[in-house]
């Protein structure tokens, strides 16, 4: 049997973009225009660049990212609603050399899981938290979240969120920054390429904080939910820019001095 030699490429191709090793080949179930896919990719790129895939353990939330463990090519577990920081604590305490991250939405982290996130942060657990804030419950069909904006219409605030009876949005990056155990707490957005690049750098620093043993780290990412916002993907990106960013100012709320010196 003869085997023909591979044909010579006409010109040398340079690989400029490829799937991160830390992502699986599985197609995600996320809606068009949803930024979960972007956030997943950023986390995977950071894990690749830091060479920590083989000691990483990801914790999926309850919410649209409930199947996140199927999309990351690394060990993963699935937490009960809001309990990912507690589960992460249990894992990290018995495997201190592992790199443990949670990936949580706003209902998960800022509503049902408020106690778990606050205390994991207060203890300075060496974990990394990726917090997806899209101001709505996605998986259950668009109900009001703790982060829903005043007057925002959802399926459980059909006349718009009335702050008198339904309370005010919660700003997690600012709240967590008040806790001594926190090494890194920042907010970024994913509504355009420039902001996505900034988001990636923040995710990198949030993992650096963990591997350097500096303390708890969280990146809050302003995200879209075109399906439940009843918008096109482009409209959703603009809505983040025009409505969410003013309500949730982007910025560094706490950055450990050792991280400030890092060039990543």
């Amino acid at each position: 049997m003869t085997v023909s030699a591979p044909s010579k490429p006409r010109r040398k191709l340079k690989l400029v973009y490829q799937k991160p090793e830390a992502l699986t080949d599985k197609a995600t179930h996320y809606c068009p225009g949803c930024t979960h896919g972007v956030a997943h990719r950023l986390v995977a790129e950071v894990i690749d660049e830091m060479g920590i895939r083989e000691r990483a353990i990801g914790i999926a939330p309850v919410g649209c990212a409930v199947l996140a463990y199927d999309y990351f090519e690394l060990d993963g577990v699935e937490a009960a609603h809001g309990r990912a920081p507690a589960m992460a604590t249990g894992i990290k305490r018995v495997l201190p050399d592992s790199v443990v991250f949670t990936y949580q939405g706003d209902g998960d982290l800022a509503s049902i899981g408020m106690a778990e996130i606050m205390h994991a942060a207060a203890r300075g657990e060496r974990i990394t938290v990726i917090f997806i804030n899209n101001a709505i419950y996605g998986m259950t069909g668009g109900q009001m979240a703790p982060t829903t904006l005043p007057q925002q219409v959802t399926t459980s605030s059909p006349r718009g969120r009335d702050v008198v009876t339904q309370g005010y949005p919660i700003r997690m990056a600012e709240i967590l920054a008040t806790l001594d155990g926190v090494a890194y707490s920042v907010r970024r957005s994913m509504h355009d390429p420039a902001n996505i690049r900034k988001a990636k750098k923040a995710i990198r620093l949030a993992f650096e904080a963990q591997v350097r043993g500096l303390g708890f780290a969280m990146v809050e990412l302003l995200s879209t939910c075109p399906t439940n916002w009843r918008m096109s993907p482009i409209e959703a990106m603009h809505w983040v820019r025009d409505h969410m960013v003013p309500a949730y100012p982007l910025g560094d709320y706490k950055v450990d001095a050792a991280l400030k010196k890092l060039r990543v």
Partner: protein
């Protein structure tokens, strides 16, 4: 072997350490707090993980996380804490990872009180949480037995990949008795083939209780059920006392069983042929052994520190073969041996008819007391 005078909670904690527990996560609640306190001192000494969680909800989810790594892990609490842990317990069972939970039972429902009770029986035998799963439940009647069952609980949890409860009523947790502690076991080094810990040189592992396809979830449910059937076949534990010639059989677990034993011995000295059957594994329940006794005895007396929660399982096991009398104390009350002796005498003098409602008769009796 040296014997030491130890409080039940402390003895159970030290027994867990000797059984090689890698991590403990808990939250203070009376009457189990000494267990947590002992762990806070001893676990760091042994270079192991201890953490006082912000709630029982967090504690059980820390247990869940550590269990996913294949570590030996436990928590301890009392009934109100079990209620809060119900969610996490169900996830642990659904993910098929092992964990040990100590429930030092107190009076309830609600905040109740901190006196000894067996009111969590129905709660724990169903594992407290939602969905189809089966925990193993072990009930000691002395501090020594609590120590022995704690040691065994970890092996059983790993063998059946499920939750194992050790349920001690408050008196077992609080009283001091001489005990022989087991020698320190070497901690297991190798992690099981299902555990997460970083996908180094192997495919990623994923641990979840989420099975979106009903046909897949059903397969998992059946796997859990088959494992439970194995436990039913091999892990039934009970103790019998003076049963060989017994015409009357008292059935009680934990402290109620222990109090009943004093009453049984007193009744024997008065010539009543009575014995004691004490279930040690509440799940799997010793159904067959009780059915066998039901075919031989004239009557049963079930004694509990609740309103007859185990009574229903005894009735199901007895299949109407034998009349049953019930005597319970509730709300943190512990029956005195004299009370149980009076019940045994009443049973022997006038056995109830098989058609009697044991709980109704007892309630009428309590109304007169």
């Amino acid at each position: 072997m040296t014997r030491e005078l130890l409080k039940g909670n402390v003895a159970m904690a030290e027994a867990a350490i000797r059984a090689g527990v890698d991590a403990y996560f808990g939250y203070p609640i009376t009457p189990q707090s000494e267990l947590l306190e002992w762990m806070s001192k001893r676990m760091p000494e042994e270079g192991r993980a201890f953490l006082q969680a912000e709630s029982e909800v967090a504690a059980i989810n820390m247990v869940y996380g550590a269990a996913c790594t294949g570590a030996r892990v436990m928590t301890s609490t009392s009934g109100p804490g079990i209620s809060l842990m119900a969610e996490g317990i169900s996830y642990i069972a659904g993910t098929e990872v092992p964990a040990v939970i100590v429930d030092v039972m107190r009076g309830g429902p609600g905040l109740g009180n901190i006196a000894p009770s067996q009111g969590d029986y129905r709660q724990v035998i169903h594992g407290a949480g939602h969905g189809d799963f089966f925990p193993l439940v072990l009930a000691p009647a002395s501090v020594q037995e609590a120590v022995d069952l704690i040691s065994e609980a970890f092996d059983l949890a790993e063998k059946y990949r499920t939750v194992v409860f050790v349920v001690a009523d408050g008196s077992i947790g609080q009283m001091m008795e001489p005990v022989t502690l087991p020698p320190m076991r070497e901690r297991k080094r190798a992690r099981p083939e299902w555990a997460v810990g970083g996908a180094k040189g192997r495919a990623p592992r994923r641990l979840t209780s989420l099975y979106l396809k009903p046909e897949v979830e059903e397969r998992v449910n059946l796997r859990i059920l088959r494992r439970w059937r194995e436990a039913e076949a091999h892990e039934v534990r009970y103790r019998g006392y003076h049963l060989d010639d017994a015409a009357y059989v008292v059935i009680g677990f934990g402290t109620a069983g222990r109090v009943a034993l004093s009453a049984v011995r007193a009744a024997r000295s008065e010539g009543i042929r009575v014995g004691l059957f004490r279930p040690v594994s509440l799940r799997p329940f010793p159904t067959q052994a009780i059915r066998q006794l039901a075919s031989q005895a004239k009557a049963f007396l079930v004694v509990e520190m609740n309103g007859g929660q185990m009574l229903e399982d005894v009735q199901a096991a007895a299949q109407g073969q034998v009349p049953i009398r019930f005597y319970g104390r509730m709300g943190g009350m512990v029956p005195f041996p004299d009370e149980v002796l009076a019940e045994i005498k009443a049973l022997a003098a006038a056995p109830p008819s098989p058609a009697d409602d044991p709980r109704g008769r007892w309630l009428a009796q309590m109304a007169q007391a």
